[in-house]
């Protein structure tokens, strides 16, 4: 199977539009983006996919050894972009996928024209002189919470989006791809996410980027967003009026406006 088939790729928008790839974060899948897809797709070729083990990705994509670190996910995205052969894309990464997007750009700058990092955090654990927001004990507690909850993303989202009367064709497709999120996969992804330290990788990135920070975010606090901006050459920073970690759901208009505004301007700050 090709990477695009393995990762349940969907593309919308004009074929000759600037390619814009949306990478979802921990615990969810590409449906996370459904409130912003249409706005981006007006004049971009929008590509959506599911990470290994998430949503409609083929079950064989997830390898507990390979995906024990973010490098495994990075390999996947590089392979996917190579397969799509769209030329340099705008790569939008949310949450942990912002880190994955950074790793992709560091390794293969030819694949990425610009980066959009939504709620990025290069390290969640506190360290000497660095505040990531979480202590080691708190990470253990999070993993325990994931143990006791089966609230899979797809379980909640698929029926809702499937019921969207504006997009009946989407509904059928999503119902078909409906799959229970494997708690083991979620846990492995959480482990790879919350134990990673990618601060040093920021200096390796030469790609122009936009850091999108929510006004109040318990997972990626404002100071972490600023840290990313300050350590990332050629980055711009925008604070949007949104609370929580998922502005593409809670404040889709603000997110779309910030991203389109950035893409309309020159890449450098």
């Amino acid at each position: 199977m090709s990477p695009r088939a393995l990762h349940n790729v969907r593309a919308v928008g004009p074929v000759d539009g600037t390619p814009l790839v949306l990478a979802h974060g921990l615990g969810c899948d590409q449906k996370m983006w459904h409130r912003v897809v249409d706005a981006f797709a007006v004049d971009h070729r929008v590509v959506l996919f599911d990470h290994a083990g998430a949503g409609g990705a083929h079950p064989s994509t997830f390898d507990p050894d390979r995906h024990a670190s973010l490098e495994g996910y990075t390999d996947d995205v590089v392979a996917l972009l190579d397969d799509l052969a769209l030329g340099p894309v705008v790569l939008v990464g949310h949450s942990v996928s912002a880190t994955i997007a950074l790793l992709v750009a560091a390794r293969r700058p030819d694949l990425v024209d610009r980066l959009v990092l939504v709620g990025p955090s290069p390290r969640y654990l506190d360290d000497d002189g660095y505040r990531g927001g979480f202590s080691a004990a708190e990470i253990d507690e999070l993993l325990a919470t994931l143990e006791t909850n089966y609230l899979g993303w797809s379980d909640v989202m698929a029926p809702v989006i499937a019921g969207n009367p504006d997009r009946p064709e989407l509904g059928a497709e999503l119902t078909a791809s409906f799959r229970r999120t494997d708690p083991q996969v979620t846990r492995a992804f959480a482990r790879a996410t919350f134990l990673s330290d990618n601060r040093a990788d920021l200096a390796r990135v030469r790609t122009a980027s936009l850091v999108v920070q929510c006004r109040e975010d318990a997972i990626a606090p404002v100071e972490v967003g600023r840290y990313v901006h300050e350590h990332l050459a050629g980055s711009r920073f925008v604070l949007i009026d949104a609370v929580g970690h998922c502005p593409q759901l809670s404040a889709p208009e603000a997110l779309v406006a910030a991203v389109l505004d950035y893409l309309a301007g020159p890449p450098a700050p």
Binding site: C28, E138, L151
Partner: protein
């Protein structure tokens, strides 16, 4: 205070549920008495209103709220029975959270049901599942190590494979093999449980002694990536067995090489009227000892015996068989017997001792007075007679390989005769000189005849023949005798 409104209000406040009313961003607008009581305990002054719900939950719930619950509320308008823990004065309180969004303004109603006892039951289930998953992971780890060890060849590779397999565990920060001279197994900081410095130590035991200790530095976090000590011990034990095997193999190879070396560096007979030279070329792989050997000795004062053999197999067994056949041939040859009878005797030795079965051998005797060469080939390639006029193979005296067709009585094995002219040379050799997979044997023999026909003698000739040999995958040896024709002593 009477009336439905106040009754409802009282019911809301004292319901056996923690009830919250949040704005669309998750900030508490109102909390009922039950919830305030949980959070504040005796300290009624602790405020709840104005705080974000995430801050009222333990960190797991806080992240879960932002990654799962809030998106679900935005999209689906409700969530049911999410397991969270409320931060209370008395410690974390397990609760089930159900919430619904009001379509009008996005405000959120939250109900929290305390589930202390049920939580214990759930934890049992989670523990049981974790144990099952851990045992699967443990099995995978051990299997991975077993596969890696089975592919490793020498002791160095085995050690590297062992370390790499252990390091593949996500809970392992570092690993090294500590051998004698450093930390020993009894070191108080190592052991079955990680010490305060997070170090584990297990022995890599061999059958005859220890190969050292695997000292593993474990990561502190997360708790579920715990390194299983039993699995680690199993891997270490397998590493010990693999190291035993690799060292034994290495030793047996080196013994085999020594044996072969001893057999191939004999003093060749030397006299005015005969020049004997020999050459041996090991196979390119060089690791395993092949079974080619040669010998030359005086059977009678004027009779020189020349032998080339090829033992089936490789390694120490082949080297041992070579030694036995060589000694037996020397001991069983004698004046007046002739090559056919000598081979019969060697054949009997092979059958009686059950060693060297299927080996091939060419045995020749040169009468240095007359120049007559008698020879017999037990399944072996024919000797090559090189004269001034050219080279010719000696195709007489052929019989089966040793041990294949032994008869105690009856006519002796066939032998051939040829009279050498002064200056003639006879070459005995093994198949490595002429055989190659992609070339017919006849072409290989023709090539040898051409090479040997070029003017050269003694060591130069054997070197020339070996260098021209096309096959580098097999070992090869050649023995050359040149008769000068002048009478000896």
């Amino acid at each position: 205070m009477t009336g439905p409104a106040s009754n409802e209000s009282r019911a809301w406040s004292t319901a056996p549920l923690g009830l919250l009313h949040l704005d669309a961003d998750g900030y508490v607008l109102r909390a009922n008495d039950t919830f305030v009581g949980w959070v504040a305990g005796q300290d009624a002054g602790t405020g709840v209103a104005g705080r974000r719900i995430g801050d009222l939950l333990t960190v797991g719930g806080r992240i879960y709220w932002d990654t799962h619950v809030a998106p679900a509320l935005t999209l689906a308008g409700q969530v049911e029975a999410v397991r969270v823990e409320v931060r209370t004065a008395a410690g974390p309180l397990p609760a089930l959270l159900t919430a619904r969004t009001r379509p009008r303004d996005g405000a959120i109603d939250v109900a929290l049901l305390a589930v202390r006892r049920r939580a214990e039951f759930e934890q049992e289930l989670v523990r049981a599942r974790s144990a099952a998953e851990r045992s699967t992971e443990r099995l995978r780890w051990v299997q991975h190590a077993t596969a890696a060890l089975s592919h490793a060849a020498g002791p160095e590779q085995v050690r590297a494979a062992l370390l790499a397999a252990v390091a593949a565990h996500p809970g392992v920060a570092a690993v090294r093999l500590q051998t004698a001279g450093g930390l020993q197994a009894g070191d108080p900081t190592g052991g079955r449980h990680p010490g305060p410095d997070g170090r584990l130590s297990v022995p890599v035991a061999g059958a005859a002694g220890t190969h050292g200790d695997l000292v593993v530095q474990v990561r502190g976090r997360p708790a579920e990536a715990t390194v299983d000590v039993d699995a680690l011990a199993t891997i270490a034990q397998q590493g010990g067995v693999a190291l035993d095997r690799a060292l034994l193999h290495e030793r047996s190879m080196s013994v085999a090489h020594e044996l072969q070396h001893a057999m191939l560096t004999i003093d060749l007979p030397h006299r005015e009227d005969v020049t004997v030279s020999a050459g041996y070329r090991p196979a390119d792989s060089g690791m395993e000892v092949g079974g080619d050997w040669y010998d030359a000795f005086w059977v009678a004062p004027a009779v020189l015996a020349l032998v080339v053999g090829d033992v089936v197999g490789h390694g120490l067994l082949a080297a041992t068989a070579m030694g036995q056949l060589r000694t037996a041939t020397r001991a069983l040859a004698g004046p007046g017997l002739g090559p056919g009878r000598v081979l019969d005797r060697v054949d009997g030795f092979v059958v009686d001792r059950e060693t060297g079965f299927g080996s091939t051998l060419v045995y020749a005797e040169l009468d240095t007075g007359s120049g007559v060469l008698a020879y017999a080939c037990a399944g072996h390639l024919p000797p090559l007679h090189v004269t001034d006029a050219g080279a010719e193979f000696l195709w007489e005296g052929r019989s089966t390989p040793l041990g294949v067709h032994h008869r105690r009585v009856g006519p002796p094995r066939r032998q051939g005769r040829v009279r050498l002219a002064a200056g003639d040379t006879v070459l005995l050799y093994t198949d490595g000189v002429v055989e190659r997979r992609d070339v017919p044997l006849t072409d290989g023999l023709a090539g040898l005849a051409r090479t040997a026909g070029r003017p050269a003698a003694g060591a130069a000739l054997t070197t020339q023949v070996l260098d021209a040999g096309p096959n580098r995958r097999d070992d090869a040896c050649v023995l050359a005798v040149t008769w000068s024709g002048t009478a000896g002593t």
